[in-house]
Symmetry: C2
Subunit: 588 residues, 2 copies
């Protein structure tokens, strides 16, 4: 089985050639980094992931996690040792705040490490993956005392964290949650209730686990305006065990390395983060980081699957080329001669390379939103990152799954048996479309909060950026800027339709939200392709750059045409969706 | 967990209202069947599948099959008893030839039973599913003596059968196979070699298993022109065990109830079917039946997943309606109020109901191709069935899988855990895109053999039928006939592009084959929707018929718009696919 290789050359193309990060004066963090340093970090991260983490992946799937009768949970063989190495090598602290012991590197570098760790073993990455968001939440909401107690050990990775939101009856709709938090009058609260689907709720990687838990204080308003956020550690500062435990772990379709826990809180001691009833704001700091991370996880699965399928297509001999044969004497040619096999592989290249650029671009906007000097520029970067976050999450995980399925297809029947590892990637990738807000919720976030709330201003600013790039593109790139500009027009028509129609039909946003997100995702990646093609065109003698141009060309012909069909689906409106009575959905 | 319910009303709508089968004078088999009889058969089949077969499905996934050290294979608990009941109830003989003890019912009824059995438990259906095709092959190719020995017991289901084609190095490319058949001079051959991925190669359901095996006689021409077909029973007519055995069974992504076997033939005794070196022709009789069956299996998974998702959407309360709320006092509304949830459910309705009609229509063409009096009409029906067979297989299995994934999505996180059964449907449905000729092979069959070989005549005949239906549709159905006619134009443009371009570029057929198949699938199902809408419009006071019109409307707005984008992908040609050197597909 071909092992995953860190795509260092492609990463460096994005960070250096495309985004021009080394020594970039816009941010002090970047100004201090030269190309060699960035490349060394990326290369070392890739090496670590390939050597230490990737071998865990089949083991993780086969063994899964085990909950013992005493409520402890054992992770798959090798996880603990690999986690210790991850911490020792300093990868956990990379983009963490310097004041608590982190290295203060930009998010755009973190996005690279996240991709590599997820390609190597997503089930393993689930444990440290949540840390940067948890640290941001605690940093933004906790008292100085709490920060001093928890942040240094969270930043270093000595302690891990969870997001404890979901309850059995309250998933997307957090307003329905019932977990209670009763103030004890000593600054702590007694937290009682049951949370489900808690990734890393219990495990054997770290001694302590810091749960960030949503709960209601007595007499809190109903719904989402009565939710507060608490820090609830497994081990209390005095060394006592808190009264919380893992009741069971889920048996899932995949991602078996990640312990998905039912967590029972029985008057557990917790500390309020931020203000009572305003807990969702603090949680959303963590959630937004997690959403970006899930989109990147989709990319990571796609990249891993692509590499394996490409290797198989070069090796496996089956059928003969229609045109010239590489070896006319051979009984059969490698799969790579077949145009339909190449169609699947080129689709995968177009998605992975384009989305890698988009994810890095979006992470950079987050860095810029924190670090730019000019306030208006900071706000602009923040608005763009916020607009793109649901797109990254949903489009990245949808395409990541689709790519994994297509790469499995390249293997024929061998893709369906466990031996080759392809079916594991498909099973593991499936969850990305669901957790951290199902993709339909992301679409509604985009169409409702991000498009409609400001009457389309941020969306139009985004479309204007893409349109400007088309207008500014060289004549030689018309084969790409033309279809991309068409895509912008489709997106604008779709946005106008939604903004106009919603005045008379409150369901139209929900009805059109999914195809709308798909248009935005398609042109956002297309925008990156146009920018990458412009860079590559300058050095088209280099085979790597020539391949970039071919892949950009493929995107123009095979992805951008979707925008027209998607716009028509938006314009189909809500009528056919809402016409049936609920009971008519049941077969007679 | 909601159990699957046979969609009898919808089936009867297709058989009676749409296809007008009861008492149909075109075929004697139909002329003899009145509506009550057909409905009784469908209802009883549904009841049998729901009561006896559906309970096996979770067990099949959990237990899987077991190969023991002596080479025997045990199927999951309950399979043997259910198979005995299936045989005793006469379901196996339904569409089998009367001269060997079958009931001689038309294929169009068999298609219904196949759907129901596959929805109930696809892993179970794999065992008898292959019988009708195997019987046809033996009937067309065997000597009278062989027929007399084998067909009565195969028709009755007392013995089951396999298709033994694939070898480790020869999947799609059967020409590479190496299994040998040496004539013994007594009318039998000694068959030696290893076959893989043999569904039902060994099991405990029947005493004997009739393997139909492809192999090469000595000095056979190389490639696919040197392949012969043999009947190789597990138990020889004299009661001795033949020298063949199951070496191992595969561990797969899903379909665990089906034993996928490595079969070793060690000078096993076999009888030639048909002529030496012409074995593929006989095997294709079986294969075409199997391809139709796999498309129907895709439908069956989609229907099963749809029913569960619809029930969940009516029951699960999460979030509140944007417009009028069903119960303003409730903390939350059922999922069915949300337009995006309805989008997924309506897509599923549009596919399942439309494809059920298309599968039945295609099966009917097979009946007509055998039974019509007029030779030209028989040939026309055969050409249409042959044109639609790869479409049924690939479009049905692609959409079946996509539907299963979307229905899993309706469940949110609960769709990812094993408890609810949704993830099993996704895993089980995935294989349909791969086996019996991967979907890319189907697309090449359509674009190469079915479109290009006769210069587009059969394709144009098909498009003419759909266009004629659009022209003949009532003004009131313009909302559907308009987009469908557009789809026909897109299909015709795509076909012309392929036929024209292939003269200078042999790779263009392969490059455009997949989107071409998707256009044909989309308009074939759209054609069925137009015919169904015309029927439903006559009784639109009936809520069932009104729902048909709504679902047709949904198809017009949400599926037919894809044709334009797909045509553009066909017209993208082969250049961007074929430009990279093979080694450029490997990441550096």
């Amino acid at each position: 089985m071909t092992l995953w290789m860190p795509p260092v050359r492609d990463t460096m193309f994005v960070l250096d050639d495309l985004l021009d990060l080394p020594g970039n004066e816009q941010l002090p963090q970047l100004a201090a980094l030269d190309r060699e340093t960035i490349e060394a970090i990326v290369t070392e991260a890739g090496k670590f992931c390939a050597d230490v983490v990737a071998p865990l992946n089949p083991v993780a799937d086969r063994e899964g996690c085990t909950r013992h009768d005493d409520g402890t949970v054992t992770t798959p063989s090798g996880f603990r040792a690999a986690y210790d190495q991850l911490v020792a090598a300093g990868w956990v602290t990379l983009a963490q705040p310097e004041e608590y012991g982190g290295q203060g590197m930009p998010h755009v570098l973190l996005a690279v490490i996240e991709e590599y760790l997820n390609s190597a073993c997503a089930g393993f990455m689930m444990y440290p993956g949540i840390l940067p968001g948890a640290v941001s939440t605690v940093q933004s909401t906790a008292t100085d005392h709490l920060k001093d107690v928890y942040l240094p050990k969270m930043v270093s990775g000595e302690w891990l964290a969870t997001m404890a939101l979901t309850e059995a009856h309250a998933g997307t709709d957090l307003g329905l949650m019932r977990t209670k938090a009763v103030p004890r009058g000593n600054g702590t609260y007694a937290i009682s209730g049951q949370k489900i689907f808690i990734s890393g709720g219990e495990h054997d990687l770290t001694e302590n686990i810091v749960h960030l838990v949503l709960a209601r204080v007595p007499d809190a308003p109903e719904g989402s305006r009565g939710i507060s956020l608490f820090l609830v550690p497994k081990i209390l500062p005095d060394g006592e065990r808190n009264t919380l435990s893992c009741g069971s772990i889920e048996h899932k379709m995949g991602l078996n390395g990640s312990a998905t826990c039912v967590m029972n809180f029985d008057e557990a001691t917790g500390w309020l983060l931020g203000e009572e009833n305003l807990g969702l704001a603090g949680m959303f700091i963590m959630m937004n980081a997690a959403r970006l991370g899930v989109g990147i996880q989709g990319l990571a699965h796609a990249e891993n699957a692509y590499q394996k399928a490409a290797a198989y297509a070069l090796d496996r001999k089956q059928g003969r080329a229609m045109g010239e044969r590489p070896d006319p004497a051979a009984a059969a040619d490698p799969l790579i001669v077949h145009p339909d096999v190449r169609r699947m592989l080129m689709d995968a290249r177009a998605f992975t390379e384009g989305f890698r650029a988009l994810a890095a671009f979006t992470a950079l906007q987050i860095d810029l939103s924190h670090g730019l000097e000019d306030k208006a520029a900071r706000q602009q970067a923040d608005a763009l990152a916020s607009f793109l976050t649901p797109v990254i999450k949903a489009f990245g995980s949808d395409c990541g799954f689709e790519t994994a399925v297509a790469m499995q297809q390249v293997f024929g029947g061998h893709g369906y048996v466990k031996e080759w590892g392809m079916e594991q990637i498909v099973r593991d990738a499936r969850i990305c479309m669901i957790y951290e807000g199902a993709n339909g919720v992301q679409a509604l976030d985009l169409a409702g909060r991000k498009l409609a709330r400001d009457g389309g201003l941020v969306c139009e600013a985004f479309l204007g950026l893409v349109e400007g790039a088309c207008a500014g593109a060289s004549e030689d790139l018309r084969w790409l800027s033309g279809p991309l500009r068409e895509g912008v027009h489709e997106a604008r028509d779709a946005a106008r339709f939604l903004l106009h129609k919603v005045k008379e039909d409150p369901d139209v946003l929900g009805a059109g939200s999914y195809p709308f997100l798909q248009i935005i995702g398609t042109i956002a990646v297309g925008w990156m392709w146009l920018r990458m093609a412009a860079v590559a065109a300058k050095s088209s003698d280099d085979p790597f750059m020539a391949a970039k141009l071919v892949t950009a060309w493929h995107y123009a012909g095979h992805a951008l045409p979707n925008c027209g069909a998607l716009r028509r689906k938006v314009e189909a409106g809500s009528e056919s969706l809402m016409a049936l009575a609920p009971e008519q959905f049941v077969r007679a």
